[in-house]
């Protein structure tokens, strides 16, 4: 009787549950997005690929531009330059004229020829928007471009600029759009008509903010990709990306910071997926402001180097996925293999250096003082960064052990950038540009005012000589002089402790067994989709 009465009362909720069950039963697994087909690779990316304009920035994604378009020269392991759309090149004796011998029989995806005139057309629109690309040294240095013949193209620089060849390999803006893709006025800054490429993929389907489908370019001039189709799904959330991989909706997680490092370890430990970590691609460091405050004193800067337990930071915060850094640029970068004695983690040394600098620990107090002023410093980091925040907390704890009070300030990106540009910090979390931009782009940001790094180095006694060497190294014409200058620059920065290198950033990859032939590109913004296979 009681049961009957309960059922009577519950008839409306029960009806609803029944309705829901009917709906659920209609949802069979054929609605699942599981990737079942052979030779199709489904990956995810946090953002939409953008309009695939090879010469523009946001909302164009590096990842998509790097996958889709090709450069004249490619960047290989250890900075080796590899012919791509240019099969060879010559540099004039004065280092100002670069002559590229273009690959023959290369066609764009619309069937048109890749030749010197289309290269010229691309350079014209890039140079018409020089200001937009002024961050890239090469663009500012180009004086003129010339079509010598159908397959020979010449670029003349205003001054000698040794990193030019390396910069021809960057993802944007120096990649090539087919003529029919240009807008009517030829200015790609205002947009493109169609993404026409010489590359291994053709954009065959696109749903903005949801997915992009790339089909293998059957007329590709080089080695054709092993997979027939590449599907890029937009999944903004890292954890959701992990769940999509576990469900089988995507076949690969690849990139820098695309999932939390905890998730990476969990996927690795699950035994269901293969995982890989790349060689160092860029540096994570603290910029030490030598121009003011306690860090104007070299002893305090060196004390900092000895006080931070980098191994604990790398192991604890990044689960060992990032590599510990003892020099500001990793040794696998060109000219960066310099022998520098690392600062060891040694709290006693750090304390002794602070004592020497006059920062004494008064009896009964925990913070050192000098002339009655406590040793308080500020570390600025990007508030939303999942690595910088815990690392800041760990550094705070490290410095407390030597009697230094560290205030950690997490800021929103634009405010952090403003603080950096005005050198309004004691310590600031910073990443280098990475391959293929370093070490020369790193050098440029050090001697050029405006970024905040030059400003933060004003406390280095030999700053003028250092910045002159940085300018000179870009103009060198032989390897010996260049290496000599780089060695001197890296040694001065190391000895002056104007950076605290913490770790080297790496790319990660997680994929099931059926993804074959995995390999990381040496270039930070390139993708390996053209070389891998899917055998389900």
């Amino acid at each position: 009787m009681i049961l009957f009465r309960t059922l009577k009362v519950l008839r409306i909720p029960l009806l609803f549950v029944l309705l829901l069950t009917i709906i659920l039963s209609g949802c069979t697994s054929n609605l699942s997005n599981k990737t079942k087909e052979d030779k199709i690779l489904t990956v995810s990316w946090p953002k939409d690929i953008g309009p695939l304009n090879p010469h523009q920035y946001t909302p164009n994604e590096f990842f998509a531009q790097g996958t889709y378009y090709e450069p004249l020269i490619d960047y290989g392991p250890n900075g080796k330059l590899i012919p791509k759309l240019a099969e060879s090149w010559n540099v004039s004796e004065d280092g100002k004229v670069y002559t590229f011998h273009l690959r023959k029989n290369v066609k764009f995806t619309d069937g048109s020829n890749f030749d010197a005139s289309v290269v010229q057309k691309n350079f014209q629109t890039i140079l018409a928007n020089r200001d937009l690309h002024s961050w890239l040294g090469l663009i500012s240095e180009i004086n003129k471009t010339e079509v010598v013949d159908a397959h020979t193209f010449k670029v003349t620089l205003k001054n000698r600029y040794y990193p030019a060849l390396q910069e021809f390999a960057v993802v944007r803006p120096l990649r090539f759009l087919g003529s029919a893709g240009f807008s009517d006025d030829g200015n790609t800054a205002k947009g493109i008509k169609k993404p026409i490429t010489t590359g291994p993929w053709v954009l065959s389907e696109y749903k903005k903010n949801e997915k992009a489908v790339f089909t293998r370019n059957e007329n590709y001039w080089g080695t054709k990709p092993k997979i027939k189709k590449l599907i890029v799904k937009v999944i903004p959330d890292g954890e959701a990306r992990v769940l999509a991989l576990q469900k089988g909706d995507i076949d690969l997680i690849f990139g820098e910071g695309v999932i939390s490092l905890d998730s990476f370890v969990a996927l690795k430990d699950s035994g269901k997926f293969k995982t890989a970590v790349s060689d160092p691609l860029a540096s994570r460091a603290l910029i030490v402001n030598t121009s003011k405050g306690p860090f104007a004193d070299l002893d305090v800067r060196i004390a900092l180097q000895h006080a931070v337990n980098k191994k604990a930071l790398v192991d604890g915060v990044t689960n060992g996925i990032e590599k510990q850094a003892d020099s500001i640029i990793s040794k696998n970068f060109p000219y960066a293999n310099v022998n520098l004695k690392p600062y060891d983690y040694n709290l006693e040394k750090a304390k002794a250096l602070l004592d020497k600098a006059g920062w004494k620990l008064p009896a009964g107090k925990t913070i050192r003082e000098k002339n009655g002023k406590p040793l308080e410093i500020e570390l600025v980091y990007m508030g939303s960064d999942q690595i910088e925040k815990p690392m800041s907390a760990a550094i705070q704890s490290d410095l407390k052990q030597i009697g230094v009070s560290l205030k950690t300030t997490g800021l929103e990106r634009e405010i952090r950038n403003k603080r950096m540009e005005t050198a309004d910090f004691d310590l600031l979390f910073w990443n280098s540009y990475g391959a293929p931009y370093d070490p020369h782009s790193f050098i440029s940001t050090n001697f050029a005012p405006g970024y905040g790094i030059f400003e933060s180095q004003q406390g280095i006694p030999m700053k003028n000589e250092l910045h002159q060497q940085m300018k000179d190294v870009l103009l060198t014409d032989n390897e010996t002089d260049r290496q000599k200058l780089y060695t001197s620059i890296f040694t001065t920065l190391h000895n002056q402790a104007s950076y605290l290198p913490i770790s080297y950033l790496t790319n990660i990859a997680v994929y099931p067994d059926y993804v074959k032939g995995w390999g990381f590109p040496a270039h930070r913004d390139e993708t390996p989709f053209a070389i891998i296979d899917v055998q389900k």
Binding site: P13, S134, P236, D237, A240, L243, K418, A448
Partner: protein, 318 residues
């Protein structure tokens, strides 16, 4: 007729409210510490020197007086032009046309689910006050109110999508793609609405008209359906009206997790980059949705209780 006049009056009142909101938003945006010209340069990898900042400020129209910028923006709006994004250089309306329907579908579906589930739960709880069913509903309400949306979303994805493969995980391709995100958004509302309704019903059941109705021999279903529910559901209607706007504005986490290209993610990006045209458009849309949500709730209230549209209601009733 009275309802019609009431709606017209309320619609007319929308104009100053929306104008006021957009003006305050316009003003506040310009008081924030970061210059959008600087943010634009930073995104474009251009060193922000005084020259480049001034150039970009001029290009973006930020060098004009504040009032002129506001009037210009209003004039553009009159032509249904929401402006062009500072960062992507794509007209804001182009993005809104694609993104707004996703968020709207999600918000409305969540509201419908919440109401459809809350009504039977509220009734069952009220009819079985402090009994097993009421305790179960209370537990559900407690869970719904205390579970953070992101955690619920991950739990639903893990169990319903990954483990049992009942619904797709991410995207907007079919109606099934909207089920899990809508449930995620609805659960918190169900917690509130079912408890509001339960309390409303319990209070109404004590009213003299219930006694008269029972004396007239009305059965439980007729009594609840025709009299008590109509009276008790009013707080739920008010809450739903308020929540419509909140749902539009608060879908960002759910949109991100379920990879749905709604307006939440677009607005978040715009805030990071100080993309004024996008932020202003978002504020405008939110103002309209909030005001409309409240208007709809008030109209439904007026329909449920016609005394609300009359002047001096209390006196007449007394």
């Amino acid at each position: 007729m009275k309802l019609f006049v009431y709606v017209w009056k309320r619609l007319a009142m929308m104009v100053p409210v929306i104008l006021g909101t957009t003006f305050v938003a316009f003003l506040l945006l310009r008081l924030t510490p970061v210059d959008p010209a600087r943010a634009y340069l930073s995104v474009s990898n251009i060193i922000p020197t005084e020259e480049t900042i001034n150039l970009v400020r001029h290009q973006l129209g930020l060098d004009q007086p504040f009032w002129l910028q506001y009037v210009h923006w209003l004039w553009q709006l009159c032509h249904l032009n929401f402006g062009i994004s500072f960062i992507s250089k794509i007209p804001v309306s182009q993005e809104l046309v694609v993104r707004l329907p996703v968020t709207a579908t999600l918000a409305v579906l969540s509201l419908i689910i919440a109401i459809l589930v809350s009504i039977p739960l509220g009734i069952a709880s009220a009819l079985h006050k402090n009994k097993f069913i009421d305790h179960c509903c209370r537990l559900l309400a407690f869970l719904g109110a205390s579970l953070p949306q992101f955690l619920l979303a991950y739990l639903l994805i893990y169990f319903v999508s990954v483990k049992f493969d009942l619904f797709p995980l991410q995207g907007t391709e079919t109606w099934q793609h909207f089920v899990l995100p809508s449930i995620t958004l609805a659960l918190g509302l169900i917690a509130t609405y079912s408890r509001l309704l339960r309390n409303g019903l319990l209070e109404s059941l004590e009213e003299p008209f219930v006694l008269y109705a029972k004396a007239r021999g009305l059965g439980t279903v007729a009594l609840m359906g025709r009299h008590v529910l109509r009276h008790a559901i009013r707080p739920v209607v008010t809450a739903a009206g308020m929540n419509l706007g909140k749902l539009f504005a608060g879908t960002v986490i759910v949109e991100q997790i379920f990879a749905m290209p709604g307006i939440g993610g677009y607005f978040l990006e715009a805030v990071y980059h100080r993309d004024y045209p996008v932020i202003q458009s978002f504020v405008l849309i939110m103002a309209i949705v909030f005001v409309l949500g409240n208007l709809i709730a008030d109209v439904v209230q007026a329909y449920l209780d016609p005394r609300l549209t009359q002047q001096g209601t209390r006196k007449q009733v007394e």
